[in-house]
Structures are given as structure tokens and as C-alpha cells.
Amino acid sequence: MPPIDIAARVIANARLSSDYSVLSLAAPEVGARTLPGQFVMIKPEGVTDPLLRRPFSVFEVLRNAQGAIIGVSILNKRAGPSTRRLYDLEVGDVVLCLGPLGQPFKTVASPAKAWMVAGGVGLAPFATLAESLAAGKTDTTLFYGARTGDELFYLDFFERLGVTLVLTTENGARGTKGRVTIPLEAGLKTLGTGDTAMVYACGPEPMLEAVAKLAARYHQPSQVSVERVMGCGLGGCYSCVVPVRHGGENANLVRSCLSGPVFDGAELVWE
């Protein structure tokens, strides 16, 4: 279905910490079309500075008590002017929300396992993916690393879905101390021949690179969601390119808004 642009009212803006908020938008038409891993281009209405929209993974597809889709939420982390403004929005404010955009994650089915690897705000695309995997009864694990214990969010949500949680924090306050790739590698080592774990990753680029390379080393497939500066989200501007190599070809710069943001980890060329 084609993306649409909704002038969406803010339903809620739950501040999870001084940096993170979950911004819920009344955009049922966007929610109804969204597949896990897709993103929206967002901008508060009436704001001309910053000029451009900003890309955000759809975090949740929101439903009312009757189960009808009423909108989407994003997991917003303050990084600069736009994310700061989104953090400050109040119920009733209006946000332009264009989407859904981009290629979604491909789900897997048993006996393959699904291992989601999230770094910080990279958790965002995994809530909808976990729901989709849970619906398919796939054995799912979330490797989730954050700076501090306070920045591990929505753990209940994933537990309720039956997702196994493997947590790490940089300061060791919660879960294992250190990078999320440490337990991931430990997990990969336990896989027997013939076992398949589809490794999904979203987070800082060095993490993505490490995860994709680990998966490859242990002969597991991976799907990584990359972040590039995006001017349009629709393939119009060519700002968002990443180098991708299919088979033995030379690397090509492809638009991550159209061909991504989710790519086969084995095909991305790390810069």
C-alpha cells in the first residue's frame, strides 16, 4: 500500500527518561499499513526550522480496547533539535507523519530461531517484530544493550510476548557488563550444525558491523537496520545511500530509504 501523510494528533508522550520518550500519534491509516522494521518521516506541524522531516522506526502499532488500530508510536531519543522538539510535544499537538516507508524485516518460522540485537534506541523496530514473531510462535530472544540500567525499556512488553531477554549495560548496573555482542557471540557458539538463528540488529553502526560479522563468522543469516541521514524517505534525494554488494559484484551505493533500512547483513559493505 502506498505511504500516506497524516496530520496526526499526539495521543500521549510518555517520557521514559530525560532523553527517551514514547510519542503516540493518532494515525490509524499509517498503523494499519506498517510492517515490522518500516519507518515514518516526521515533523511537528507548522515548524519551519528544522525544515526537513526526520526518520523514525515505527515502535508500536497502537490499538484501542476493541483491538482496532488507532495509530503508531515512536521511541524517540533526544539527539538534536528535531528529536528535542518531539520530546517536548504535548497531547493535542499535531505532527506530520508520512509512512510507512522502506523495506520491512523478513520474519522466520520454526525451527529457525529469531535473535534480535538492539543497542539503545535501536530497540525501536523490535517491538512490532517481536509481536509478529510471537504470532508465528517463533522462538525469539532479545539481546538488548544500553548505557545504564535506567535505559532498558519495555522489558515487560517483551516478556509478555514470551521473548527471552539477554540484557547488557555499559556500567554493569543491570544484566552483563559490556557490549551486547559478548552474550550474542556466546549464544552463537552454542548453536549446533543445522541450527538457524536469524540475527536481526538495530543500533549504532559499529554494533551493526560487529553483529553482521559475528553472524557471518558463525554462518548465520542477519538482517540489519541502518541509519543514514535521510532528506526525503521516498527515494527522491539520494542522500541516504549505503554501499551494498550482491554476490561478487562491485559495491553499489543504494538508497537506504527504498532498498532499506533493513539490509542483508552479508551484503552491506562496512565503511
Binding site: 502506498p2 505511504p3 501523510d5 515533523k43 519551519t48 526550522d49 528544522p50 525544515l51 526537513l52 522531516r53 506530520l96 508520512l98 543514514r228 541521514v229 532528506g231 526525503c232 521516498l234 527515494g235 527522491g236 534525494c237 539520494y238 542522500s239 541516504c240 545511500v241 549505503v242 553499489n252 551505493l253 527504498l258 565503511e271
Partner: protein
């Protein structure tokens, strides 16, 4: 009486003056899902050379106050793949396709135009002699009056398609370049391409985009672009296609009053891909309110009589 939005660029008739600017609309087909391409006056393709190009490494864009700098570096599929893969689909959609032609040498410009002349479904050639983001060719022609005259003359001999050199604003007297293009046989000129610009990350002391310099577009440049359009309109007889920072119908009217026969919308596509129908509605509303039957009556209708100092 429905307002008549049609305009003509030489022999080329457009149902309305709104054209998607080069590099801001992919090859047009990317927007197929959100815009009915046949409703636009026209669509300008991304800049095309003879062969494929990878462009500059990212980051390729950065925002600035009321604008953005880009240095995409003309990543593109080359004219042959364009003719084969994109043109037939664009024709199917009923798009009026303008092809933005680049070259590193005069010969390359001519060759690309020849390929396009032999293809079916090209409405016009926009000759890009103004991209600030590549070193060879292009802007070298666009920044010299002789260079402009020579490349337009050479291409003119190679094609009967409507020929529209696209001018750079990075010159002292843009109207003289419009004149050189006219003298060399151009059917129209389009302006402005982007302004050469630099943004520095003061924390790292490095440029914000990989090409160091890039081109500034968006609302920030509009008042300069409108001035340049008016200067060209006063000097040349061929139609002027204006652009630079258009966001709404009022901006379009500003360019038309200043002498634009048609306009292009670039950066605003990124902000709002649905801009087209909003602008069309805005134009119709203005024409109704002001009792203007034909939009073309407004071309150059700017009246430079000073306004009053006092407010109503």
C-alpha cells in the same frame, strides 16, 4: 469558469506551470505512489551523464537555516539505462519528462542529447551547466559566457527538442548568461541551481558533508532567486523557468509575477511530497479571488511601483 493554468514553453504546452526540479524527485517514478505524475506540468529527471555514476560518499546533505546543502555528486544510471528503464514507464504515467543533461565535456553534452533525441517521450532537455558539486565540466561552462554560448550552440545543432539551459546563481550577472543562452538558440532558461555553500561542524572542525562544498537550496535562497528571475525576464525574450525555495502557491506566484513562465519545486518535495495538489488548489483560489482567467496573464505582471509605508 475554471481557471486556466496552462502555460507554453515554446512549442511545449503544459497543463500547469508546476514542474518537479531535477535531483529532488528521483526519476519521477519514485513518487508514483504519492503523486499522479500526469497532473504535474512536468517532471525533471535527475542529472544524467552518458554513463552511470556513483556520486559522492555520504553524508551528502545537511540542513541550514531555512535551507539545506547537498552534494549528491550526480549519482545516476546514465542516459542509456534511463531511456530503457525509466522513460517507457514515465510515458505510461503520462508524465511530461524533462531530462536534466550533464557532461564533463562539450562532446558528452552533445552525445547525451543525441541519445535523448532518438528516444521517445522526452518533452524537453534541461541542460545542466550549473551543478556546483562536480569539478569537471558543468559549472565551468555555466560560469563563463563563452562556455555557455558554446555548449548551448553545440547541443542546439544536435537536437530539435526544446532546449533549456539551467543557469547557476553563482555569477555576477545572471541575466547576461540567459542572454548568451538565448543567442545560442535556447528555447527557454531555467534558474536557479543551488548556491555554493559550506557548513562546518565546529566540534570536529570538519565539513558537514563529504564533498566539503555543496549547493544551498530551500526557502533561504528564494528572495535571491526571485530577483534573478526578474533580471532575466527583463533582458531575454525566451521563457524563464524559475525556482528556488518554493513552498506554496504564494511562492509560485511570486516567481510568476517576476517573469517565470513555469516554476520548479525542489526541496519542498522532501518536506511535503503532497505539495503539488496544495499548490494547484492555492493557484486556483488566487485566480478566483483576483479574477484572473488565465494564469499566463500573470507572467511578469509584477508592478515595481513602491508600496506605501503605512499599514492599512
Amino acid at each position: 469558469m475554471t481557471p486556466d493554468l496552462a502555460v507554453s514553453i515554446g512549442s511545449l504546452k503544459l497543463p500547469n506551470p508546476l514542474i518537479a526540479a531535477s535531483g529532488c524527485f528521483g526519476y519521477g517514478l519514485e513518487y508514483d505512489q504519492v503523486v499522479d505524475l500526469s497532473l504535474l506540468g512536468g517532471v525533471v529527471s535527475k542529472g544524467l551523464f552518458m554513463t552511470e555514476r556513483q556520486g559522492h560518499p555520504p553524508p551528502r546533505i545537511v540542513e541550514t537555516p531555512a535551507g539545506m546543502i547537498n552534494a549528491i555528486g550526480l549519482q545516476g544510471i546514465g542516459v542509456h539505462r534511463f531511456v530503457k528503464e525509466k522513460l517507457p514507464l514515465l510515458r505510461e504515467r503520462g508524465a511530461r519528462t524533462f531530462v536534466n543533461v550533464c557532461g564533463t565535456t562539450l562532446d558528452e553534452y552533445v552525445e547525451v542529447c543525441k541519445v535523448l533525441s532518438d528516444a521517445e517521450g522526452v518533452a524537453a532537455i534541461e541542460l545542466n551547466i550549473s551543478c556546483p558539486n562536480i569539478k569537471e565540466g558543468g559549472i565551468q561552462f555555466g560560469c563563463s559566457l563563452n562556455g555557455t554560448f558554446d555548449v548551448v550552440s553545440a547541443v542546439r545543432k544536435a537536437t530539435t527538442l526544446p532546449l533549456i539551459p539551467k543557469l547557476t546563481p553563482n555569477v555576477t550577472d545572471v541575466a547576461s548568461f540567459a542572454k548568451a543562452a538565448e543567442d545560442a538558440g535556447a528555447d527557454a532558461v531555467s534558474l536557479v541551481n543551488t548556491f555554493l555553500a559550506l557548513a562546518i561542524d565546529v566540534e570536529t572542525r570538519r565539513p558537514k558533508i563529504s564533498n566539503v562544498l555543496g549547493g544551498l537550496s530551500g526557502p533561504a535562497i528564494r528572495p535571491i532567486a526571485v530577483r534573478m528571475v526578474w533580471e532575466c525576464y527583463q533582458l531575454v525574450k525566451i521563457p524563464v523557468i524559475g525556482m528556488g525555495g518554493i513552498t506554496d502557491a504564494r511562492d509560485v506566484l511570486e516567481f510568476i509575477l517576476a517573469g517565470s513562465t513555469a516554476v520548479q519545486i525542489g526541496t519542498q518535495n522532501f518536506v511535503d511530497p503532497f505539495v503539488w495538489s496544495k499548490v494547484l488548489d492555492g493557484l486556483k483560489d488566487y485566480m478566483t479571488r483576483h479574477n484572473v482567467a488565465r494564469l499566463s496573464d500573470l507572467i511578469g505582471a509584477f508592478d515595481p511601483t513602491p508600496p506605501k509605508a503605512t499599514h492599512p
